[in-house]
C-alpha cells in the first residue's frame, strides 16, 4: 500500500516536472559550484535562434543572469 502511494507520488512529481520543464533538482540554497545543470525550455528563449535547452549550449561557457523588470 505504502509502496503504491510512493509510486503514485513519484508519478505525479514526474508529470509535474514534465509540465514545468525539465530541470535538475536544486536545493533551496540553489545550485552549487561543480554541479551539472540541465533544463529544457517550454518556449524557446527570445533571441535564442533555435536554442531549446541548456544542453544545446554545451561546448561554450554560458552566463545565466537572473534579473527583474520592476
Amino acid at each position: 500500500m505504502m509502496i503504491q502511494t510512493i509510486r503514485k507520488s513519484a508519478g505525479a512529481l514526474a508529470a509535474t516536472g514534465l509540465l514545468l520543464g525539465l530541470s535538475v533538482a536544486s536545493s533551496p540554497e540553489g545550485v552549487s559550484i561543480g554541479q551539472e545543470v540541465s533544463y529544457t525550455f517550454r518556449s524557446a528563449p527570445l533571441g535564442g535562434m533555435g536554442v531549446t535547452s541548456l544542453a544545446d549550449l554545451k561546448g561554450k561557457p554560458v552566463l545565466v543572469e537572473f534579473w527583474g523588470t520592476r
Binding site: G21, G47, M49, D56, V62, W67
Partner: protein, 254 residues
C-alpha cells in the same frame, strides 16, 4: 544596459548569455520591456523560465556555467576574477575536454575550428591504427556526432520557425566543414534541399524584408512607424512562419 549584454558583444559567439526574468513578469511583458530598452539585436537570449534556482537572494544575480554544463561560479555581479575565469573557460572549451587521451588533441582542435569532417576522419583512422584505443575513439566520435547533430537540429528548428536566412547561413557554414563525414553531410544536404524548395522561397523573401525592418526596430524600439512596418509585413506574408515571427515583434509595441 546590463553589463552582461556588453559582455556578450565583447565575447561574441564564444559565450552564450541567457537573461532570466525572475519577478514573475509574463513573457509578452518581458518581450515589450526588452524591446523598449533597446536590448534586442545581440546574441543574448531572453526568457522568463528559470532553468534552476541560483540560490542568490537579490536581483540581479548570475550563474556561470562551464562548457560542460557544470556550475563554475555564481554571485551577485561579475568581478574581474570572473572575467579571468571566463577567459580561461573559453580557452579550455576550444581544446580537448579534460581527461581526453592526447592522441585526440589534434582532432579536437580541428573540430573546434569547424573542420568537423577532418576531425571525424582522424578519429576513425586512429581507431583502425590503434585498436587498443577503439573504445576511447568511439567515445570521441559519439561526442563529435552528437554536437554536429545538435547543430543540424538547430538549423531544422530555424527553418521551421521563421528564420530561413539564418538557417541557410548556419547550414552553409556547417556543410563546408563536413567534407569526409558522409552521413552527416547527407543530412546537411537534405536540409539544404528543403531550403531550396519553392515553399521556402516566400519564407526567404519575407525573412529578408523582416530582417531589414528589425534592424531599424532594434535601434529604436519605440518608433510607431517601425512597428507599423513590421505589422504590414506580417499581413503581406500571412501564412508564413516569418509572418508569425513578425507578429510577435509587432506585439512588442510599447
Amino acid at each position: 544596459m546590463p553589463a552582461s549584454i556588453k559582455l556578450q558583444r565583447e565575447y561574441g559567439d564564444d559565450v552564450a548569455v541567457v537573461f532570466v526574468e525572475s519577478q514573475g513578469t509574463s513573457a509578452p511583458d518581458t518581450d515589450r520591456f526588452v524591446m523598449k530598452q533597446r536590448w534586442l539585436g545581440t546574441q543574448a537570449m531572453w526568457t522568463n523560465e528559470s532553468p534552476f534556482n541560483s540560490g542568490s537572494g537579490g536581483l540581479p544575480n548570475y550563474v556561470l556555467l562551464g562548457a560542460d554544463g557544470k556550475v563554475l561560479q555564481k554571485g551577485r555581479s561579475l568581478s574581474s576574477k570572473d572575467h579571468d575565469l571566463l577567459d580561461a573557460e573559453i580557452k579550455r572549451a576550444k581544446g580537448a575536454p579534460e581527461g581526453t587521451d592526447k592522441a585526440f588533441n589534434g582532432a579536437w582542435k580541428d573540430f573546434n575550428k569547424g573542420k568537423y569532417g577532418k576531425a571525424i576522419v582522424t578519429v576513425q583512422k586512429l581507431s583502425v591504427k590503434k585498436p587498443e584505443m577503439a573504445d576511447a575513439a568511439a567515445e570521441v566520435m559519439a561526442t563529435f556526432e552528437a554536437r554536429v547533430q545538435a547543430q543540424l537540429d538547430r538549423v531544422d528548428w530555424l527553418m521551421k520557425n521563421g528564420y530561413p536566412g539564418d538557417a541557410k547561413d548556419r547550414l552553409d557554414e556547417l556543410a563546408s566543414g563536413l567534407s569526409g563525414a558522409d552521413e552527416l553531410l547527407g543530412k546537411a544536404r537534405e536540409l539544404d534541399g528543403v531550403l531550396a524548395s519553392d515553399e521556402m522561397k516566400r519564407e526567404l523573401e519575407a525573412d529578408k524584408k523582416l530582417g531589414r525592418a528589425l534592424e531599424s526596430l532594434f535601434e529604436d524600439g519605440r518608433d510607431e512607424k517601425l512597428f507599423d512596418r513590421v505589422t504590414k509585413l506580417s499581413e503581406e506574408f500571412a501564412g508564413t512562419k516569418v509572418a508569425e515571427r513578425a507578429q510577435r515583434f509587432a506585439s512588442m509595441r510599447p
